[in-house]
């Protein structure tokens, strides 16, 4: 990639970030809505966003860093293409979540907060998806799946990502 391309890429990123920040800055307590919008566009909060948010909202960069790091939902690194969340809370534990999480970690060969080497999957813990009537629960993207066990996870995982029709999706 030539230097010129990188500059254009940078400008595009800045412009996209600025349009989100400018659009929401007048809201009372604008920081969380801004971060949510940035993350839903990019999948994470790019480092470049922090000085832009800080100067627009007239707060320090440390303040912005502090808020991003406080909330589990916000991430500073690019996630894998598919984020898998496993519920660790009590209701799911009552139905075998501990065995499920061990299984998923070994299937993906990663631990929580990690991304597979091929960049396809990230694994995150979650503390309740509100689906406690059919524990244990997991979520892939925003879709919640209940009544999970190791076999059902394998079936779901294969049907979502490894059937011939879907193979292009991963």
């Amino acid at each position: 990639m030539s230097t010129g391309d990188t500059e254009i890429g940078k400008n595009d990123l800045q412009n996209e970030l600025l349009s989100i920040i400018e659009g929401l800055k007048e809201q009372p307590g604008a920081l969380l809505p801004i971060l949510h919008n940035i993350q839903s566009l990019f999948g994470y909060i790019p480092e470049e966003a922090i000085p832009l948010i800080a100067s627009t909202l007239n707060i320090s960069r440390a303040d912005v860093h502090g808020v991003i790091s406080f909330y589990h939902h916000f991430r500073r690194t690019k996630p894998g293409k598919h984020v898998i969340q496993i519920c660790r809370a009590e209701s799911c534990q009552a139905m075998g979540a501990v065995a499920l999480e061990q299984h998923v970690k070994s299937v993906l060969s990663i631990d929580y907060h990690e991304t597979t080497n091929n960049g396809k999957f990230s694994l995150e813990p979650v503390y309740c998806l509100g689906n406690c009537a059919c524990s244990p629960s997991i979520a892939i993207a925003d879709e919640v799946y209940g009544d999970m066990d190791t076999d059902k996870f394998d079936q779901l995982f294969n049907s979502l990502f490894f059937t011939p029709a879907k193979a292009g999706a991963i």
């Binding site: 009372p28 307590g29 604008a30 920081l31 969380l32 809505p33 971060l35 949510h36 909202l57 303040d63 502090g66 808020v67 406080f70 909330y71 589990h72 939902h73 916000f74 519920c87 809370a89 009590e90 209701s91 799911c92 534990q93 009552a94 139905m95 979650v126 503390y127 309740c128 998806l129 509100g130 689906n131 406690c132 009537a133 059919c134 524990s135 629960s137 979520a139 925003d142 879709e143 919640v144 799946y145 209940g146 009544d147």
Partner: protein, 515 residues
């Protein structure tokens, strides 16, 4: 004639396949040349029967469930849409299913019946009648009605709602706020989600009435980011209510103003604590504030603020519609009205059960829940979320009542009931309670931030076979640590984490040695 077929749109119903069933039914109706209108109603809360497909008949709604994709063809072959009862999944009249029939649905009167996206449907089922009555009253008269109803905060703290409203009403200010706490983070709870997804307009109506009662013109609802469907449906309901004139600058032509904005949380359990929630709404880290000042005096942006849970606010419309006495006539002692209980974990018939206070825990898990899902012996029940005590069988005859639970060192909290069978190791659960506190602590006070980490370490020592000789000393130390956390923490996070820890050790001490 167009036949109405209902398939719920609800996170759990969808997790059990409702979306797929809905599109299959639409496709097969076309193939069979049957004229149906598919309604995406909300869930009745009978989750083990989801996806629960219902059809309108002259006698009432007939249900079929749980419907799998493989069942849809045979349902059509047997003309289920006429309410024919011979399909093996037919449950008869839904209203007659004992699990539903034996409940007292006040707050959830419309659950599963209406289309949550239809304001016409809401109005046709007594919607906005509470608001109409409230608009005829003075602020003080509304507050008095809520006081008389005996309604107490359903988020967990059970503080009398009317008293909180009175404090805000009496606080002079240019701008006051209504904040709805929909950061439902307790494991085993989903009743807030059911309102947000299933009857969002009742919450909008409740927030409006609260605004009229205290003189607030702006409301915020703080919904956790783990509830994306709830956020979408609630935002849709806000738009509908605004367009129909129930929100905005002239509510129902009264000249009164009230607006609502939804804000999304970001995966922090602590933001369910009211002052942490306010910090988060203001765009900061969710660090707990020192009280006083109470949020009712100095809340959001420093202004007097009502912070109420979803269920508290969603119970207000029926109080204003049917009268404070109608609501107060249910319940026992100082616990008036109904509580939506949520049966979760290892339970056969999981779901939402709205009941007047007073039934025992055993009746609930046995009569409604029908025992464990695994079929093994029930061993422990955690009531009230991750900060609630684990109760052994000897305490299952406690009546569901705030005071009775408090006396037993337990809490009803937000009504979450998580059942465990005999395969659970309760020392693991005690360790998890400390670990959860360490992960979710806001970090402002030392007993919570550091105490929880020392707690995890201590429980690990307890379980270490090499340190068996030190067991009593470690137990004493854990007890002392729990005292410090209870007495010294700023909020319930650190202050109540000892509840599950102590109860898991006290009632299930034998589990330490099997680790």
């Amino acid at each position: 004639m167009t036949l109405k077929v209902y398939v719920p749109r609800d996170t759990t119903a969808n997790a059990r396949g409702a979306n797929k069933i809905a599109s299959l039914i639409e496709r097969l109706a076309l193939n069979h040349g049957v004229d149906i209108k598919l309604v995406r109603n909300s869930s009745r809360g009978l989750y083990w029967l989801e996806p629960l497909v219902e059809v309108d008949t002259a006698e009432g709604r007939v249900g079929f469930g749980p419907v799998s994709e493989d069942d849809v063809t045979s349902l059509f072959e047997q003309k289920f849409y006429n309410g024919n009862s011979y399909h093996r999944l037919c449950l008869g009249l839904v209203e007659d299913i004992p699990y539903l029939k034996n409940q007292q649905r006040l707050t959830f009167a419309r659950a599963g019946i209406t289309d949550p996206l239809s304001i016409e449907d809401y109005i046709a089922h007594d919607g906005f009648k509470g608001l109409e009555n409230a608009l005829k009253l003075s602020s003080q008269e509304i507050v008095d009605q809520v006081k008389t109803s005996g309604l107490r905060g359903r988020g967990g703290a059970a503080f009398p709602t009317g008293i909180k409203w009175q404090t805000v009403l009496d606080a002079p200010a240019e701008q006051k706020y209504i904040v709805c706490n929909a950061d439902e983070g307790d494991s085993g709870t989903f009743s807030d989600r059911m309102i947000l997804e299933g009857d969002p307009l009742v919450l909008i109506e409740g927030m409006c009435i609260a605004g009229l009662a205290v003189g607030a013109t702006q409301g915020y609802i703080y919904v956790r980011s783990e509830y994306p469907l709830a956020c979408d449906l609630f935002n849709y309901a806000i738009t509908q209510a605004r367009e129909a004139g129930y929100l905005g600058d002239n509510i129902s032509g009264s000249g009164e103003t009230f607006n609502i904005e939804l804000r999304m949380g970001a995966g922090a359990y602590i933001c369910g604590e009211e002052t942490s929630l306010l910090e988060s709404l203001e765009g900061r880290r969710g660090m707990v504030r020192v009280k006083p000042p109470l949020p009712a005096i100095e809340g959001l942006f420093g202004q007097p603020t009502v912070v109420n849970n979803v269920i508290s606010l969603a119970s207000v419309p029926i109080i204003m519609h049917k009268g404070a006495d109608y609501y107060a006539n249910c319940g026992m002692g100082r616990s008036r009205g109904t509580l939506p209980l949520q049966l979760a974990g290892n339970i056969k018939q999981a779901g939402m059960v709205e009941l007047a206070f007073g039934m025992t825990l055993r009746q609930l898990v046995e009569d409604f829940g029908q025992g464990t899902r695994t079929g093994k012996t029930m061993r422990a029940i955690q009531v009230g979320g991750p900060l609630g005590a684990y109760l052994p069988e000897s305490l299952w005859d406690l009546p569901l009542d705030y005071e009775a639970f408090a006396e037993a060192g337990a809490v009803l909290g937000h009504g979450g009931i998580v059942v465990f069978d005999e395969t659970i190791n309760m020392t693991d659960m005690a360790r998890y309670a400390m670990e959860f506190c360490a992960i979710e602590s806001c970090g402002k006070c030392t007993p919570c931030r550091i105490g929880s980490i020392r707690g995890v370490e201590l429980i690990d020592k307890l379980c270490d076979p090499k340190q068996r000789s030190q067991k009593q000393a470690n137990l004493d130390l854990l007890d002392e640590l729990c005292d410090i956390m209870e007495d010294g923490s700023l909020c319930a996070m650190g202050g109540m984490t000892p509840f599950p820890v102590r109860s898991a050790i006290k009632y299930f001490e034998e589990d330490i040695d099997s680790r």
